[in-house]
């Protein structure tokens, strides 16, 4: 009999590791050991292993809004003891407007088994667990299994189990542990602030920080946890749970999870340490979405090249380039000269693009949340550009001349002034065109800014080449120059006609300025514009005097003084006040201002959301707004799907919006996202919208 028992245990032993898992319906469960046995008086780690069917999950010790933690009732031989589970860091599992905490796929819940000192080596003991699981997908099913593990008692500490030893050790190593963290919490208005400090948090990446409370009633699990960093830790803004309505908890225990690391912490009521706040939210993750990540340097450069070509057609750029191209025709057969002009223009374009890109990369390296178009986020820059546009327009209108006349009649385009003029035409064109991210540029520039500087500069260089290419081509190919109409009186008419798009561009920039700096900016910029117009008219008079050989110095000085006054008064001093963030004027669509919290709240309500990342200075954004968004059909589609239209206005700098743009691999606006009613990643709409496309996206979002 004794022999038979021994044989039986030996058989069980041999099979211990291979003991067939029990299929409970939606998961397979088994007990697995970390070591091949345990010595008397020693401990061994075993684990309750669940292999959960795809799409289903089981729960953490605090299941969150619903659900129930996995449980096991043990039957052990006399003298043997077993610990509670060591719970690995759970995942957030959103279900409709609720959030649960639990596990998917394979999960091992380790426990420590301790053998009594009088256990007999050579024997095997059987550990029995009646395990209860609540397995849920959309619906929940309670399942249970009786699991056994035969564990040999060994004279000396047993070697690691070849199949499960390393795996269980890793689960233990990754499980949340105390790390000397100090926690404090305090109710502030409708929120609970939880401040956590400790050595392990200094300099840690806190962008993914999340607090899993042990108790199910201290916080509202479904609400977002806003993160603020401090020199020695972080402060989370939590939404209080039931317990705060009945006196509040004496302590809040839980797990602070960072990316890949997790720490146990217990917070006491009391003042929040200063070292847990003050440094703002964590910097944006450069999480390049798959599409952009796959772009590669060549692809990004190709996109940038095409984007650059398209930039030539921007309404504020075209007049400048058209005039420049027409002036080439003025050379007649002087092809060498035309080529020099083309090269000077191209150099101007490339130098400016590289300078802007260099500045942008340097600023981002310094931690600023800026993206492409950042030049136009400063009121003084916008004001200066508005005045510049006006000056160019007045020049086209013939109020004054540039370069040639001042340097003497006859030097013409062959002069060095002409080459410098071409160079600065290139500079001007880039400064004016750059913010209007052409459709193909968004992905390419977003990709570029996530790359090392050399790759980023390559993409910007490609953009510059694309931008300069049409003009340089005209300059270099004699056939194209010859194809241009012969110079004549028509050129003067053409020039004066082209002045008007430039006046329009100036008016647009004034509008941008008012969005940034408020209505008070209007009289100031218009007064500066009038002074500038007067100054340039005087300058023109001085030029005419000069041509006629009359004294002109006084007039020139007056013009210079007035120009300086206009620029300083209109753009630089005193500093423009920043207008309150209230949107950019009336819109036909009922829109709400974007904030990450607002978006999260709407998603939690299960409503589809259309987010429009836009800026007043972005021309393609305005076109999309007028043509595709502010239409009856879109407005009806929003209503029909109970969807909300959020506008993320990037006219002025905004770290949160820049972070979201970066998350989708963009460096600038426009970006259109449609979040489905059931959550998940949003659909990214093309940068050129049509009404039908938006309506279709909203209808899809209402169903998914």
């Amino acid at each position: 009999m004794r022999f038979l028992l021994g044989l039986l245990s030996a058989l069980l032993l041999a099979n211990a590791a291979a003991a067939a898992p029990v299929d409970t319906g939606h998961l397979q469960a088994e007990l697995v050991p970390a070591a091949q046995g345990v010595a008397p008086g020693q401990s061994v780690t075993i684990a309750l292993r669940q292999q959960i069917r795809k799409g289903w999950h089981t729960y953490w010790r605090n299941a969150g809004d619903s659900g129930e933690a996995t449980r096991a009732d043990w039957t052990l031989p006399a003298g043997w003891t077993i610990s509670d589970f060591t719970w690995p860091t759970p995942h957030r599992l959103p279900i409709g407007p609720l959030v649960n905490y639990g596990y998917e796929g394979e999960v091992l819940l380790p426990l420590t088994v301790t053998a009594p000192a009088d256990a007999t080596p050579g024997q095997a003991v059987t550990l029995t667990a009646k395990a209860q699981f609540l397995v849920c997908a959309e619906v929940c099913i309670p399942e249970d299994a009786t699991l056994t593990l035969a564990l040999p008692v060994t004279a000396a500490p047993a070697p690691l189990d070849p199949q499960w030893g390393a795996k269980i050790r890793k689960v233990l190593a990754d499980a949340p542990k105390p790390a000397g963290l100090t926690g404090a919490f305090e109710t502030q208005g409708q929120a609970v602030k939880l401040a956590i400090t400790g050595a392990v948090l200094k300099g840690a990446d806190l962008a993914g920080a999340y607090f899993f409370p042990f108790s199910g009633t201290v916080i509202d699990h479904a609400q977002p946890q806003a993160i603020e960093r401090g020199p020695e830790g972080l402060t989370l803004t939590l939404t209080p749970g039931y317990e705060f309505q009945t006196g509040g908890p004496k302590a809040i225990g839980g797990v602070l999870a960072l990316d890949g690391k997790a720490y146990e912490v217990t917070a006491a009521p009391g003042p929040l340490p200063a070292a847990a706040a003050g440094l703002g939210p964590p910097p944006a993750r450069v999480a390049v979405p798959a599409a952009a990540a796959n772009l590669g340097l060549l692809g990004a450069a190709a996109f940038a090249l095409v984007g650059g070509l398209i930039l030539n057609l921007m309404p504020c750029v075209f007049p400048v380039l058209a005039m420049k191209a027409a002036s080439l025709a003025g050379h007649g057969g002087e092809h060498a000269e035309a080529r020099r002009q083309g090269l000077a223009f191209g150099a101007g374009v490339l130098v400016t693009f590289l300078a802007l890109a260099g500045l942008l990369i340097a600023l981002r390296a310094g931690g600023s949340a800026v993206g492409w178009g950042f030049q136009l986020q400063d009121p003084p820059v916008v004001a200066a550009l508005a005045l510049l546009m006006l000056a160019v327009a007045l020049n086209l209108s013939g109020v004054f001349e540039i370069g040639t006349s001042l340097q003497g009649v006859g030097s013409g385009l062959a002069s060095k002034g002409g080459l410098a003029g071409s160079f600065f035409t290139g500079v001007l064109a880039v400064v004016v065109a750059a913010p209007c991210t052409a459709p193909f540029m968004g992905a390419a520039l977003g990709w570029a800014l996530g790359q090392p500087p050399a790759a980023a500069l390559t993409v910007f260089l490609a953009l510059g080449i694309g931008f300069a290419a049409p003009f340089v081509a005209v300059a270099f190919v004699p056939a194209l120059v010859n194809a241009l109409p012969k110079p004549g009186p028509w050129m003067d008419v053409f020039k004066k006609v082209l002045a008007f798009p430039m006046y329009g561009a100036a008016a647009w920039l004034v509008w941008v300025l008012t969005v940034q700096a408020g209505a008070d900016a209007v009289p100031r910029i218009l007064a500066a514009a009038i002074v500038l117009a007067l100054a340039l008219w005087i300058a023109g008079a001085a030029q005419r005097q000069h041509v006629q050989g009359k004294g002109h110095v006084g007039l020139a000085i007056a013009a210079t003084v007035l120009i300086a006054a206009a620029v300083v008064g209109g753009a630089v001093w005193p500093a423009y006040a920043l207008a309150p963030a209230a949107g950019s004027g009336a819109a036909e669509l009922s829109e709400e201002a974007y904030s990450p919290e607002k978006l999260a709240a709407l998603q939690a309500e299960g409503r589809p959301v259309l987010v429009n990342y836009t800026a007043a200075w972005c021309v393609s954004c305005q076109v999309n707004d007028r043509v595709a968004l502010s239409t009856n059909a879109v407005s009806e589609a929003l209503k029909r799907n109970n969807a909300v239209y959020l506008k993320a206005d990037w006219t002025r700098r905004d770290a949160a919006i820049a972070a979201e743009l970066a998350r989708f691999g963009r460096a600038g606006v426009p970006l259109y996202l449609v979040y489905g009613a059931k959550g998940g990643e949003p659909a990214i709409l093309p940068s050129l919208l049509t009404e039908g496309l938006v309506v279709k996206a909203l209808d899809t979002a209402g169903r998914s």
Binding site: G96, C140, Q223, G280, S368, A604
Partner: protein
């Protein structure tokens, strides 16, 4: 001058961001304050509102007949017993179904009537909330999820039905029923001793918003 300005502005934006945080959207109703008003149709298609029960103690019970936790309380007769006892005492007991069409536990009027009859429920009425409006107003998370509203219309209890968060019928034995305790406190004119507990059970099957 330009880049310094950019840095200053970026820093300001970063500091200002946490100040601009949230007016919290969906939060739980508040104990001791007026319970959220609602109107919902009952199984016979009649509109019922909380206001019509002013002057009587009201129990709200969220249910989903496919949920194992609900089944624990109904198959054992536990829930019907509570309902019978409470309604005999003059309490209005409203069973609310917030499952969206196509989701577990959704019933139309006829279905709800049939279910109530078959289960032998003693609730005053079954309210149909397929759009989850009442559920969201009360931030109902689980089935069952229980609320007690006193005669003045104030919320005095919210949370679980008892202290044994399990779908196992054997867990009913020895469980402390929070609703029974709260109703006893209300009847005696005392403050409810355990006024908020963790609700347990299946998630309420809210559909997507429409």
């Amino acid at each position: 001058m330009f880049d310094r300005r950019v840095l200053i502005l970026a820093a300001t934006a970063a500091l200002a961001a946490p100040l601009a945080t949230p007016a919290f959207a969906a939060t739980a109703p508040v104990l001791g304050q007026a319970a959220p008003a609602f109107t919902a149709v009952d199984a016979s298609g009649k509109a019922r509102s909380l206001a019509e029960f002013r002057g009587r103690t009201v129990v709200l019970e969220w249910t989903n007949n496919g949920c194992p936790y609900v089944q624990k309380h109904y198959n054992s007769g536990n829930m019907q017993g509570l309902q019978k006892e409470a309604t005999a005492d003059g309490v209005v007991w409203l069973t609310v179904i917030s499952s969206a069409p196509g989701f577990q536990g959704y019933l139309d009027g006829a279905g709800a009537k049939a279910w109530k009859a078959k289960a032998g429920a003693h609730s005053t009425d079954v309210l149909l909330d397929p759009k989850g409006v009442v559920g969201r107003a009360y931030d109902a998370k689980t089935t069952p999820h229980m609320y007690v509203i006193d005669k003045a219309g104030k919320l005095v209890y919210m949370g679980g039905i008892d202290d044994k968060a399990s779908a196992d019928p054997s867990s009913l034995k020895g469980a402390t029923n929070y609703v029974t305790a709260a109703l006893a406190d209300v009847k005696a004119g005392r403050a409810v001793a355990q006024a908020a507990t963790r609700p347990y059970g299946c998630s309420v099957k809210y559909g997507s918003a429409d």
